[in-house]
């Protein structure tokens, strides 16, 4: 649209040079065509005025004709029709002003709702462009007079150019509906149209409109809409344009009577031409295609439609919030479920934990974990301790054998066997069949105990070794000193309360292990039993 402006500036310059009435001559050929169109249009206008209600189907046709007419005008303008255009635009401007005025007046009429108003304006504009027949108000009379001068040539131009006025004409309505958004738009447009007496401003507008019209091949409303959209896409204009577009499209499909009136009246000029009809669907499609764009623009609008949309928006946001809350609740519940699940798993892992309380459950878990860690440490030490026990026991033997009163060797035998018992309790069915393979490396070691003494300290750190020695000492002491049936007596040497907790459990395992050992190795067990009986 912008690139048309320079042309029109040139036209404006030309206009100063040429008088208005010169314009007619160069355009005879085009005039002829235009005359045809105009004639048809005039008839159409007559018809439309008479039978407005019945003209629905013709609406699209009129638009097409308008579009067809417009190119002709363009040709004229582009070649040498500047003067003509200027004149035409002059007239057009007057008409526009009149339309604006009309529309303004109409806008101020309370009974008109939007659609009615737009339809009315369109109707007026079309009627004005059509000319004398309608001849409503004084202003229209002026337009009529003008038209009478140009009649034939100007009319198509008028049709083309007068279309746009509808859009400014509708602006007052916009202003009425939403004041702040549209005021500047109307102001600019009106100022453009009215401030300059010359054709330049009006021609610019007309050019913009024409260009839009040619592009879109649309009805005046569409022109206005496209124009507005192109220019004022950022402004709120889109909403009005959209409404107009919607109304037009609906009318194109024969909808409300008022809109029908609009369509018929404005395009009525072209009804005579049969050609346009087949382009109707295309137009409709275009219109429809445009609607989404408009809706996009609409979002920026302050119009009540937009307000409704905003309400919907707000509703959606609130719904979103509630949804987010739901999601949060759901995730929170999931988290709790997960924790509870883990708690249950933990409870199953902890032996004899009947606590349903979470806190006590965790307490138990902590205690059990500690005891397990201790046990593992102890056992790993015990594994190293077994070879190392022989020299170690010699050192600890006096303390160990303190209350025994029996031969140290017997106690050693006891000590060697008994400490094993608590360990298999974790593994009741310890497969002793694989003992040969696993114990392979240990067998020769025990054959030569003296060599092992230096090895073990190197393998285990001193502090842990000492600890393990002490623990194993305790074990040896308690378990070794007490016969299996006496081991129920709580051992004061156990620092870990959990070991007491496991105490009775241990005994059963111990008995099982004893039986196992006896079954598997009767010889050894017998040999051990014997010293025990000493």
């Amino acid at each position: 649209m912008n690139y048309h402006v320079p042309d029109f500036d040139i036209q404006m310059d030309d206009e100063d040079e040429y008088p208005i009435h010169h314009s007619k001559k160069p355009f005879t050929q085009q005039d002829d065509e235009i005359m045809e169109l105009l004639w048809q249009n005039g008839q159409v206008v007559m018809q439309s005025q008479n039978h407005r209600q019945f003209r629905k189907p013709l609406a699209p046709a009129t638009t097409t004709t308008a579009s067809r007419v417009i190119p002709e005008h363009r040709e004229i303008r582009s070649t040498d029709a500047d003067n003509y255009m200027n004149q035409h635009l002059f007239m057009q401007e007057d008409e526009m002003a009149s339309w604006l005025f009309d529309s303004m007046n109409e806008v101020e009429d309370p009974p008109f709702n939007r659609h009615d108003f737009s339809s009315e304006t369109i109707f007026h504009s079309s009627a004005g462009s059509a000319g004398q027949k309608h001849g409503g108000g004084v202003i229209q009379a002026q337009a009529t007079v003008r038209e009478s001068e140009f009649v034939r040539q100007s009319r198509p131009a008028v049709v083309a150019a007068s279309r746009p006025p509808i859009h400014p004409a509708r602006k007052p309505e916009m202003v009425v509906n939403r004041t702040h958004n549209f005021t500047h738009f109307t102001n600019t447009n009106q100022s453009n149209t009215r401030s300059e007496p010359g054709a330049s401003s009006s021609s610019m507008i007309a050019a913009g409109r024409e260009s839009t019209v040619v592009d879109s091949c649309d009805t005046p409303i569409m022109t206005a809409k496209t124009y507005a959209a192109s220019r004022l896409s950022e402004t709120v204009r889109s909403a009005t344009a959209e409404t107009g577009c919607v109304s037009v499209s609906t009318t194109g499909k024969a909808a409300t009577t008022t809109l029908d009136m609009t369509v018929t009246s404005s395009p009525g000029c072209s009804s005579g031409s049969a050609e346009p009809v087949h382009r109707e669907p295309e137009l409709d499609r275009k219109r429809k295609g445009r609607e989404p764009e408009e809706s996009e623009f609409q979002s920026e609008d302050v119009d009540f439609e937009c307000r409704e949309e905003k309400k919907q928006h707000r509703g959606s946001t609130s719904a979103k919030r509630s949804r987010a809350a739901e999601v949060h609740n759901l995730s929170e519940r999931k988290r709790r479920d997960r924790i509870n699940e883990k708690m249950k798993a933990l409870q199953e892992l902890i032996p004899r934990c009947n606590k349903s309380d979470k806190a006590s459950m965790l307490d138990e878990a902590i205690e059990y974990l500690k005891s397990l860690q201790l046990q593992v440490q102890m056992m790993s030490m015990g594994c190293g301790m077994v070879p190392m026990m022989f020299p170690g026991i010699q050192q600890f033997m006096p303390a160990m054998g303190m209350g025994m009163g029996m031969g140290l060797g017997m106690e050693m035998g006891m000590g060697m066997n008994r400490p094993v018992m608590p360990f298999p309790n974790m593994l009741p069915n310890s497969p002793l069949q694989t003992a040969a393979t696993v114990a392979g490396p240990f067998g020769p070691r025990f054959a030569m105990p003296p060599f092992h003494v230096p090895h073990v300290p190197a393998a285990a750190p001193d502090s842990s070794r000492m600890q393990a020695e002490n623990q194993s000492d305790n074990h040896l002491n308690s378990l070794g000193a007490l016969p299996p049936d006496q081991s129920r007596i709580p051992n004061p040497n156990f620092a870990d309360p959990y070991q007491q907790y496991l105490g009775p459990h241990q005994v059963q395992q111990l008995m099982q292990a004893m039986n196992q050992q006896n079954v598997n190795r009767p010889g050894t067990s017998g040999s051990q039993e014997n010293p025990e009986k000493h």
Partner: protein, 92 residues
């Protein structure tokens, strides 16, 4: 809405004690877990701590089983050595 909120606040206040307790316990538990002991306690969720606890307990149990098996085998094979041990002891 408000009533629900207040109710939830009340329940949460009563629950907060145990929540704090449980938080302490979970952090204690976390200290026992070598897997996540070194991590900052804030970043480990309770469920993760519990999961790790379960895994760790299973690991410990397995380890205990292995060790007990090893020990039993080890001590089972000491039969032949026992004479030497006893001899050793008796020699002292």
């Amino acid at each position: 809405m408000s009533s629900r909120r207040s109710r939830s606040r009340q329940t949460s206040s009563s629950r907060n004690i145990t929540d704090d307790q449980i938080h302490d316990l979970v952090s204690k538990l976390q200290q026992l877990l070598p897997e996540i002991r070194n991590r900052s306690s804030d970043k480990v969720s309770a469920s993760r701590v519990l999961q790790e606890t379960c895994n760790y307990i299973r690991n410990l149990n397995r380890e205990v089983d292995d060790l007990s098996e090893r020990l039993s085998e080890l001590l089972a094979t000491t039969d032949t050595a026992q004479a030497a041990i006893i001899r050793n002891l008796l020699m002292q």
